[in-house]
Symmetry: C2
Subunit: 280 residues, 2 copies
C-alpha cells in the first residue's frame, strides 16, 4: 500500500517554470502552494544577485534544497580547466550564502571536437577532487548527478549511479563531502538502480528529483512529463530511497517546451502539489 | 596507429536506406559498392517474401549478417505473450531460410499502461528462454541487443551490455545459442563497455553495428550520424571488439530522417564505404 509522501517534502527546481516567473515570483508561488523548498540554478540567481536571493528565500521560510551549477570541468586547455575549478569554488560560496543543503554539479562532457570519453571522465574526477576541500571548508556537500546516457555527449559524462558512487568512494572514501543527486528521469531505466540506491545509503543520497518519462517522448532536451503522466514507477523508487534512509525533499524538475513551460506557473505548481500526493 | 578495417567486413542494415530502395535494389547497391553483407529487417523481407529474398541474396554473393526482428515479448495477456513467442519461432525459421548468421531480437518493453519494468524484463527473459531450443535446433543463434536507455520505455528494456550478458549466462550458460549485438549508438556511453566486451568474448559477440552520435542531437528516434560525424571513438570500440576475438561484419545502421534518409542511397552507400576506411 502506497502511503502518500509528507506534503512538506515537495520542492521546486526553478527550471520547471522556466522564465515565466522571476525568482521573487517563484518564491511567492512556492509559499502559496505550500512547497517546502526550492532549488535554483546559478543562472537564476544571477538575475537578482546572491545576496538578494538569500534574503528572499530566508524571509520566505522555504529551505534551499540545492543550488544547481558549477562543474563543467572538461576542457582541452589547462587554463580553462582551472577557470572551471575557480568558478565551481564560487558556486560553493554561493550555495553557502544561500544556506543550500548542497551544490548539485553539472559535470560537463566532451569538449568540442573530442572523442576521448575516458579522458573526459578523468577531467571530471580531477575537477571534483580539486574543489572538494573548498566544499568541506564551506560545509556544502557536493552532489554528482548521473545523467541519462542520451546527455553523455554534451551535458554530463557521469551516466549511472554506480559510476557516480565509484567517484564518491574514490574521492571521499568514508566521508560526507560528496554524494549523489538521484533524478528519476535520468536513472529510472537502470537495472542496477535499487542496488545502487542501497549502496549509496543516506550518507550519499543528497537530492531526489522527480518528473516522469513520457512513453511517446521524441525530444531529448525538453520533453519531460509531470509525475503520473509517464512510465516511471515513482512510488517504487521513492520506497527505495526511503528504505536507504533518505528523508530529504522531493524536488520537481520538469523541462517541457511543448507543455508545462507553456502553462501558467500557478497551474503547474498546483498540479505538482496534487501529483505529489497521488502519483509519487 | 589505426589500421583501416578489412573493406569486405562492411555490411548494411537495410534501415539505413529506409524505403528509397526495394530489397532487390539494396542487394544490387551493396554489390555495386562492394559491401560484404546485408542485414534486413523482417518488415523488409515481407515485401518480397522470404524465399525470393533468400534466392536474391544467395545469388548476389552477399552474406546475410543478421535478420532483425522477432521478440517484442512483453504483453499483459498470456495469449499475447504466446503469440510473440510463436512469431519469434517463425522469425528464427526465416533467418534459417536466409542463412543469416543470427537473428537480432527486438526485445520490446513496457506494455501500454504498465510501469512494471522489473516484471517486463522478466517477460523478456522468459520469452527468450522459450524460443531458445527452437533457435538451437535451427542452428540460428539469437542476439540480444542492448538499446540506449532512451528507448527503454517502448523499444527495448535491455539497456546495457552487462544486462544482456547476464541474460545470456542465465539462459545459455556455457552455450553458443545466445549472444549480443553491440551497436555503438546504444552503448558508446557505458563506463563498463570495454569490460563487458571482454566479458562477452568472441562466443557472445554476434553483431557489431556502427553509426555515430551527433553532438547536437535533439531527436530520440531518427537522428543518428554517419561514422566520423559524431563523438564516438569508433576505432577504439572496434579495437576492443577485435581484442575480444570478434571477426564478424561491421554493420552500418543509420536512422536519419533529417539527413541520410533524404539522400540518394548510392551516395549514402558510397559515403559508408569511405567512412568505414577513414573513420572506423
Amino acid at each position: 500500500m502506497r502511503v502518500p509522501p509528507a506534503p512538506e517534502l515537495l520542492a521546486l527546481d526553478t527550471a520547471t517554470v522556466r522564465d515565466r516567473w522571476t525568482l521573487r515570483e517563484i518564491i511567492d508561488g512556492c509559499v502559496r502552494h505550500r512547497f517546502g523548498a526550492i532549488s535554483p540554478s546559478r543562472e537564476r540567481l544571477a538575475q537578482t544577485g546572491v545576496k538578494e536571493a538569500a534574503r528572499a528565500t530566508r524571509g520566505s521560510g522555504l529551505t534551499v534544497a540545492a543550488l544547481h551549477g558549477g562543474g563543467r570541468f572538461p576542457a582541452p586547455e589547462r587554463k580553462e580547466r582551472h577557470a572551471a575549478i575557480d568558478d565551481t569554488r564560487r558556486a560553493i560560496d554561493e550555495a553557502a550564502a544561500l544556506e543550500a543543503r548542497c551544490l548539485v554539479l553539472v559535470e560537463g562532457s566532451l569538449p568540442g571536437g573530442s572523442k576521448d570519453l575516458a579522458g573526459t571522465r578523468e577531467m571530471v574526477r580531477d575537477g571534483i577532487g580539486k574543489v572538494l576541500d573548498h566544499a568541506r571548508a564551506a560545509g556544502v556537500p557536493l552532489a554528482i548527478e548521473p545523467r541519462n546516457p542520451m546527455y553523455c555527449a554534451d551535458q554530463g559524462c557521469v551516466n549511472t549511479l554506480a559510476q557516480a558512487l565509484d567517484l564518491c568512494d574514490e574521492l571521499d572514501w568514508g566521508g560526507t563531502a560528496l554524494g549523489v543527486a538521484v533524478d528519476v528521469y535520468h536513472v529510472w531505466w537502470d537495472p542496477q538502480l535499487k542496488a545502487q540506491i542501497e549502496r549509496a545509503a543516506d550518507r550519499r543520497l543528497l537530492v531526489f528529483q522527480i518528473s516522469d518519462w513520457l512513453r511517446s517522448s521524441k525530444d531529448i532536451l525538453a520533453d519531460r512529463g509531470m509525475m503520473g503522466d509517464g512510465v516511471i514507477d515513482l512510488p517504487l523508487v521513492r520506497s527505495w530511497m526511503e528504505a536507504a534512509g533518505y528523508r530529504g525533499f522531493h524536488e520537481v524538475e520538469i523541462l517541457s517546451a511543448g507543455n508545462w513551460w507553456r502553462r501558467d506557473p500557478d497551474e503547474v505548481l498546483a498540479t505538482c502539489r496534487i501529483r505529489h500526493q497521488t502519483a509519487c
